[in-house]
């Protein structure tokens, strides 16, 4: 083992495709890297690995672009062995503190997340990825109803299925791989229910033609689902899940051209699992607490993947949802930029020309996917008054409608104060988009002082830079 005593020090938060690509690019250019990640194994969600003790001999059958993963994994191992990268696993980062001479990354160690750890760095790359958005419908809190990404994560990580007969539903490019994965692992996939009509993509022939690999990927999934006799219902939606102790069936209905349920088309499908998702949202908590500007729901970055806070870069889905290949390109650009900037040089754009070209093409591609894969325009009409919207605080739709209607709340923050929706354990991550939709106000990522719950003892014992501790509002800790 070498030491990490010399040279500038980069903290990368997140060991998915973006964080790994950045760590490898920076480490290869002499930057000492701490790769800080909450999981026991690198890979993030896309390359989520099962535990070594499970002894998977063919893990690649649950994955895509496995060769890329092998390159990342082997590169990481070489840099760790060479002492250039420290891979800090099971570290749950809750706050990045900006100081006059650098940053301190605060994490909680281990699954119980109580022991504090602090990592000092000259620069920070936020590669915190995204999480799944799920809009509510009657029965969505029943056990056996899981997020599509969650079903996939449990399969890849734990080699388990939630049941025997699954319906996969919602909207977005994630649904097909999830359905294919569940079917390959032995579940009967009774239906794939997609709200959008992917045929609309044909209108964007020019952009699609520039991405033959993406088209081939979609065609491969479609063929695999056909081979496994999975019925695919496009322009359909799940209007309710039924059951008492767990989901026993779902009601599925067709959508009209305006995104409304077509009366009379409802039918019941028996299942013990519903894997549902309506797209992805970027994780932006750490960036927001640092004072980074957002662009829409993602962290705003420049051509070098720099945020507007000096010393803080962001790459991958925290800057906007666009998949693993885009994350790799952004991570590589960030790593090259960081290596140059930490040595007081300006990076040569020619050094990342290929990655930049991939980045612009994929951003264009995903912007189009975003217009095609959308939840039904009138999804709120299916949300009955007694449907629980905030899963943590058990706030029904009626309370949110009342707050926005009779009580006149005009923004998500006021609805939250009036109803407690978004005040629970998950801090509104699960219900945020739903509350905004039901209250007819704009969805904005809510500012959370810390990225995850922190024991009070840890907070009390954290020696924040004295410059900032005068503030009484925890959201004001850090540079502003």
């Amino acid at each position: 083992m070498g030491t990490m005593a010399e040279g500038p020090h980069l903290a990368v938060v997140g060991a998915g495709p973006a964080g790994l690509a950045a760590a490898l690019a920076a480490a290869a250019r002499g930057v000492r890297v701490s790769l800080i990640d909450s999981a026991a194994e690198a890979g993030g969600q896309f390359y989520r690995q099962s535990a070594a003790a499970l002894g998977a001999r063919r893990p690649q059958v649950l994955h895509h672009q496995w060769r890329t993963w092998e390159r990342l994994r082997d590169g990481l191992a070489a840099h760790v062995a060479g002492g250039r990268v420290a891979h800090l696993t099971d570290h749950h980062v809750w706050f990045v503190e900006g100081q006059s001479d650098g940053f301190t990354v605060h994490a909680l160690l281990g699954p119980e997340q109580e022991q504090p750890v602090a990592v000092r760095a000259d620069a920070v790359l936020l590669a915190t990825g995204g999480y799944e958005k799920v809009l509510p419908f009657p029965g969505w809190t029943l056990p056996g109803v899981v997020t599509a990404g969650g079903a996939q994560a449990m399969l890849k990580g734990g080699l388990v299925l939630p049941g025997r007969v699954a319906v996969v539903a919602g909207t977005g490019p994630l649904l097909m791989p999830v359905a294919a994965g569940l079917a390959a692992a032995g579940a009967e996939v009774a239906a794939l229910v997609e709200a959008a009509d992917p045929k609309v993509l044909v209108r964007h022939a020019r952009v699609l033609a520039a991405h033959p690999a993406k088209l081939a990927e979609g065609a491969r999934y479609a063929a695999e689902l056909a081979r496994r006799r999975v019925k695919v219902h496009v322009r359909h939606t799940v209007v309710a899940a039924h059951g008492s102790e767990r989901v026993e069936a779902v009601t599925v209905a067709a959508l009209d051209g305006d995104g409304r349920v077509l009366p009379g088309t409802e039918r019941r499908i028996a299942c013990d699992t519903l894997a549902v998702g309506h797209g992805m949202l970027p994780h932006t908590d750490l960036a927001e607490a640092l004072g980074c500007r957002l662009d829409g729901t993602g962290v705003a970055v420049d051509d070098e993947q720099r945020t507007d806070v000096p010393g803080v870069w962001a790459a991958g889905e925290t800057t906007g949802i666009g998949g693993a290949v885009l994350s790799l390109a952004e991570g590589r650009i960030a790593g090259l930029s960081i290596a140059a900037r930490l040595n007081s040089r300006t990076p040569d754009p020619r050094s990342y020309e290929t990655a930049a070209k991939a980045r612009s093409g994929l951003r264009e591609f995903f912007a189009i996917l975003d217009t095609v894969y959308a939840p039904p325009a009138h999804w709120t009409e299916q949300v009955t008054d007694d449907t629980v919207v905030c899963r943590c605080e058990e706030v029904p739709a009626s309370a949110i409608r009342e707050a926005a209607g009779e009580l006149g709340a005009g923004d998500v923050g006021t609805v939250k104060l009036l109803t407690r929706a978004g005040m629970g354990w998950c801090q509104g991550r699960m219900c945020g988009p739903a509350v905004a939709g039901l209250a007819r106000c704009e969805f904005q990522p809510s500012r959370r002082p810390f990225a995850r719950p922190v024991p009070l003892g840890v907070l009390a014992g954290t020696d924040f830079d004295r410059h900032h501790t005068d503030s009484t509002d925890p959201t004001e800790i850090g540079p502003s």
Partner: protein, 106 residues
């Protein structure tokens, strides 16, 4: 083509020796490396918490540590995210009722 029947068969898993945990007093066999949530799913169990308000059953929702729906009591410690915490031999896992701090359940 013949579909594999289970996820471990699909990836040709050769796990280390299995061990036992208990869930509400019932003995379960767990593969090493699995989280509490994976161990419970493998045993066909999908709910292990009741909500504070209406006492509704809950289990895994997001599966990646974001939603906190899968909270469970492990070895007397409440509010553990079952999807993050690795199962260990001899773990005593209990359904968490409400906050996990109110009353006694066994």
């Amino acid at each position: 083509m013949r579909a594999p029947r289970t996820p471990p068969e699909l990836v040709d898993a050769r796990p280390g020796p299995a061990f036992s945990v208990t869930f509400d007093g019932r003995q379960l066999t767990v593969l090493p490396g699995q989280t509490i949530a994976a161990a419970l799913w493998a045993a066909g169990i999908t709910s292990w918490r009741t909500t504070r308000g209406s006492g509704e059953p809950r289990g895994v929702f997001c599966g990646i540590g974001v939603c906190f729906d899968c909270l469970v009591t492990v070895n007397g410690r409440a509010n553990q995210r079952a999807c993050l915490v690795r199962a260990e031999a001899g773990d005593v896992i209990r359904t968490q009722e409400g906050t996990g701090h109110r009353g006694h359940h066994g």
